[in-house]
Symmetry: C2
Subunit: 213 residues, 2 copies
C-alpha cells in the first residue's frame, strides 16, 4: 500500500469528512459519559459461562495488579492441576506482591469423594476470607469458586453476605467458573459471560500448552 | 465447620454414594472424550463481544506462554494507551521471551483522522505478518485487530488468507476486539464471545487501575 492509497483508502474527500465528523461525535458522547463516572470502589467481578477465558482473564487482571505493584492474591478452589504456568511465574518472580494458594485439587469428578471436596473448598474459603479482610490486598482472585458454589461445597448466601459486609471498600474480588449462581451475579458490579462460539476439541484437537494450561 | 459436618455436609450415606457414582460417570465420559483428542496444532483464537476480558484473556495466554518459556509476541492495533501495565511488566521482565509492539494510538474516535488510522493499522498488520511468519514464535496476540477490521482499515479477506496459507502449522494467533467479522469467526478454531451481564459504569464507577488498565 503506497501513501496516496493510505490517505484515501477508497474514500472520497466527502466520505472522509463524514467519517471524521462521526468520530468527533463519538468522542464527545464518550467524554460526556466518562465525566459522570467519578467514583472509585472495589468491585465484585464475576466471570462465568461455558466459553474460554474466565480464569485466564482473571489472571490477566492479577498480572495487571502485579504490573502496577499493587498487592494481590489468588486462591484456587478446584483445579489445582491447571494454571500451573501462572503459578510458577508468579511464585518465581512476583511472590513479594502476589500470594498464591492452591487449596482445591483436580476437578471434583476426579476425586469422587464429596466429603474431601467439601473440606478442601471450605479450607479455600477460609483462606479467601483472610486474604480479602487484609486491606493491603487490592485484588483477590477466587479462581473456580463458582464450581464449589454450584455443588454447594460452599454456601452462596454466606459468600454474598461476606462480600457485602466484610469486604474492604477498595478491594476488588474476582470470582470465576462456569454456572455462576444467579444470586452472585445479582450482587456483582461487573459480570461477564464467556460464551463458546467455537471449540477445537470438537475437531479432535487436544489441550495444548500455553493455550489451555 | 467441624470435621463431622465437613464429612456429611448435609447428605445421607446414600446421597453421598450417588454423588460419588455420578462423579465417576462424569470422569469416565470425560476420559473417553479426551482420548479422542490427539492432534496438536496452532490455533486461530478469536475473543469478541461487548463484555470484558477479551484483551485481558489474550494477555493471560501470553503470560502463560512466558511462564512456559515459549517465545511469543504482541501487536497492539488500536489502544496504545491501554494495557500499559502489561506492556511495562513484559518489557521489564520478559523481553527475552516476548516481543511487544504498539502501533495503534488511542481509539479511532480520539484521532478523527482516518488516513492516519489506516496507515497505523497497515503498519501494525505488516509487523503482525512478520511476527507470525517467524516460526520461533509460539503465539502472536493481535490485540484489538477486530476494531481495525471492522472499520476496514485492514482487509479481512487478506487476514484470513494469510492465516490459512502462511501461518506456520504450530503457531497460535489470537485476535481480539469487539464486533469480530463473521468470516473471521468462521475460520477460527476457537472463538469466544465475552457477553456483558453487568457493568459498573452504569452505576457511576470510573475505570480503575488494575481492573480496566
Amino acid at each position: 500500500m503506497n501513501d496516496s492509497e493510505t490517505e484515501t483508502a477508497g474514500m472520497s474527500e466527502a466520505e472522509l469528512a463524514r467519517h471524521s465528523e462521526k468520530m468527533a461525535k463519538k468522542k464527545q458522547a464518550r467524554e460526556k459519559i466518562m465525566a459522570t463516572k467519578t467514583d472509585e470502589k472495589g468491585l465484585v467481578i464475576v466471570h462465568t459461562g461455558k466459553g474460554k477465558g474466565k480464569s485466564t482473564a482473571g489472571f490477566g487482571m492479577i498480572f495487571r495488579h502485579i504490573a502496577h505493584g499493587k498487592p494481590c492474591a489468588v486462591v484456587q478452589f478446584i483445579k489445582g492441576a491447571m494454571m500451573t504456568g501462572e503459578r510458577e511465574l508468579i511464585e518465581k518472580h512476583f511472590s513479594d506482591v502476589c500470594q498464591f494458594h492452591t487449596l482445591g485439587e483436580g476437578f471434583t469428578w476426579e476425586t469422587q469423594d464429596r466429603a474431601r471436596d467439601v473440606a478442601m473448598a471450605q479450607k479455600a474459603w477460609e483462606k479467601a476470607k483472610e486474604l480479602i479482610r487484609d486491606e493491603r490486598n487490592s485484588m483477590v482472585l477466587l479462581d473456580e469458586i463458582n464450581i464449589a458454589l454450584r455443588y454447594d461445597y460452599i454456601d452462596v448466601a454466606e459468600v454474598i453476605e461476606f462480600l457485602q459486609t466484610e469486604k474492604p471498600h477498595m478491594t476488588h474480588v474476582v470470582l470465576t467458573g462456569r454456572n455462576a449462581k444467579e444470586e452472585l451475579i445479582e450482587i456483582a458490579d461487573l459480570a461477564t459471560e464467556m460464551e463458546l462460539l467455537k471449540h477445537p476439541f470438537r475437531s479432535g484437537i487436544k489441550a495444548q500448552i500455553g493455550v489451555e494450561f
